[in-house]
């Protein structure tokens, strides 16, 4: 896959030939991260490893940032014995981008076991990245044993509740949500009443033309509920975002890139910088996928997202670490 030049997949919202409700997916086994660029109100996402083969002019926009996810620092099993090394490669790719992204989003599972040294290692590696600001949301692996106390102390300054918050960058409203706390037996990810109320209030005053980017760890759409890949009360959250013309949802958790377009909302999941997980339902369980060592780096990646104004098409390219 890494040998292919043209792996760009474009989902054109305006073309009626595409089933919008369909499950539009890209199984590009690639990308420890996404380069995201906002171009006229629409967000474009590129896997970092494909950036070198992409025309820099196509990836210019009013705002660009990078999404990385699921670094699982501390994981050391066969699927990837050196998760620090693969995260470093992701950082190298970010630093090699023709346009330095303004900031990074980390969509959770920073650590594998919530150990202080795991967070420290990730912090240290990410310090080597050109973008200095990193915005985090926790994954379930970041809030083990202490209900997220340590996560909040490290990354939750100025956040509400279990760590949710919003901020504005160049006219784009970013919302970081937490859906890994107080999970119920047999259930999925959950946002909870307090956070939903906050969200309703947070977006109430915004103009409907404001581009919205929501990021959270567990997908806010039903990727595969049988494996817990979805969020119980995400429909309520999305209902509060109905009035907006452009909503992009960025998630992690499932260690693979998938996309779906539904009405005004485009959903993306990012690959893990650590290890891949199987496609929904294609294995007995969602455990780490073991791939030959020489292939691992071509499977892990980074996604870059661009925000595009006046063009209702979403392009996603995933970049591998190889």
């Amino acid at each position: 896959m890494s040998g292919k030049k043209k792996d760009e997949i474009i989902y054109d919202h305006n073309n009626d030939g595409i089933d919008r409700r369909g499950f539009l997916k890209c199984m590009a086994w690639a990308g420890t991260g996404a380069f995201c660029v906002m171009q006229g109100g629409v967000l474009k996402s590129y896997a970092l490893s494909r950036m070198p083969e992409t025309n820099p002019r196509d990836t210019m926009g009013e705002l660009s940032f990078v999404q990385i996810s699921d670094s699982h620092m501390g994981f050391n099993k066969a699927a990837n014995p050196d998760v620090a090394a693969t995260l470093k490669v992701a950082v190298d790719k970010i630093n090699a981008l023709p346009t330095a992204p303004e900031f990074m989003l980390h969509t959770g599972d920073i650590s594998h076991l919530s150990k202080p040294e795991e967070f420290d290692t990730v912090d240290q590696i990410l310090k080597g990245a050109k973008p200095k600001d990193v915005f985090y949301v926790p994954g379930e692996h970041d809030v083990l044993n202490d209900d997220g106390k340590q996560f909040l102390e490290r990354y939750g300054k100025g956040s509400k509740g279990d760590g949710w918050y919003s901020f504005d960058k160049k006219g784009v409203h970013f919302i970081g949500l937490v859906n890994v706390m107080n999970l119920k037996a047999g259930g999925l990810g959950a946002l909870g009443h307090d956070q939903l109320e906050w969200l309703e209030d947070d977006v109430k005053h915004l103009k409907s033309s404001t581009p919205i980017v929501v990021f959270a760890h567990i997908p806010l759409w039903s990727v595969y509920p049988e494996w817990g890949w979805g969020t119980e009360d995400s429909a309520q959250a999305l209902a509060y975002l109905k009035k907006f013309g452009s909503v992009t949802v960025l998630n992690g958790h499932i260690h693979q890139t998938l996309q779906k377009v539904e009405g005004n909302v485009t959903f993306h999941t990012a690959a893990s910088t650590a290890f891949p997980q199987p496609q929904p339902g294609k294995a007995d369980s969602p455990g780490p996928m073991k791939v030959p060592a020489e292939q691992l780096r071509s499977i892990l990646g980074i996604t870059d997202v661009n925000y595009v104004q006046g063009q209702h098409a979403l392009a996603v390219v995933d970049s591998t670490l190889a």
Binding site: S114, A185, P286, P288
Partner: protein, 120 residues
């Protein structure tokens, strides 16, 4: 002091040829008829095996994580009767069930993983 009492009592028991709960050393005195037993639940491939386990009162159940991903064992009741720390690969958690009843539990990291211990 205790030791000497024990020796005397043990001698008396030997003489009578009975093993009974004469003295205050409960652990010793009851060990012969104690129902205590050990049972293991294996965590593997994102599931608890067996997912439903029936044991008698006093049984200590040990969960062993044989998966390459961490899991937890948390009872679903509000009081959280039992709750393990996160168990990495090959780590164990034990709980002794002192009362009869049904004890549903789950992995709080992967809530689709559920199991139940029935204590009779």
């Amino acid at each position: 002091m205790r030791r000497s009492v024990f020796v005397v009592v043990a001698g008396a028991l030997l003489a009578i040829g009975l093993v009974a709960s004469v003295e205050g050393r409960r652990g010793f005195a009851f060990s012969a008829q104690d129902k205590t037993s050990m049972t293991e639940v294996k965590i593997d491939n994102f599931s608890f095996g067996p997912s439903a386990l029936t044991v008698s009162v006093g049984t200590t159940v040990t969960w062993v994580n044989r998966d390459d991903i961490p899991h937890t064992v948390v009872s679903t009741d509000d009081a959280k009767t039992f709750k393990s720390k996160v168990l990495d690969t090959d780590e164990k958690f034990s709980y002794t069930f002192g009362k009869a009843g049904a004890y549903p539990y789950f992995c709080s990291i992967h809530p689709k993983m559920t199991g139940k211990v029935i204590v009779q």
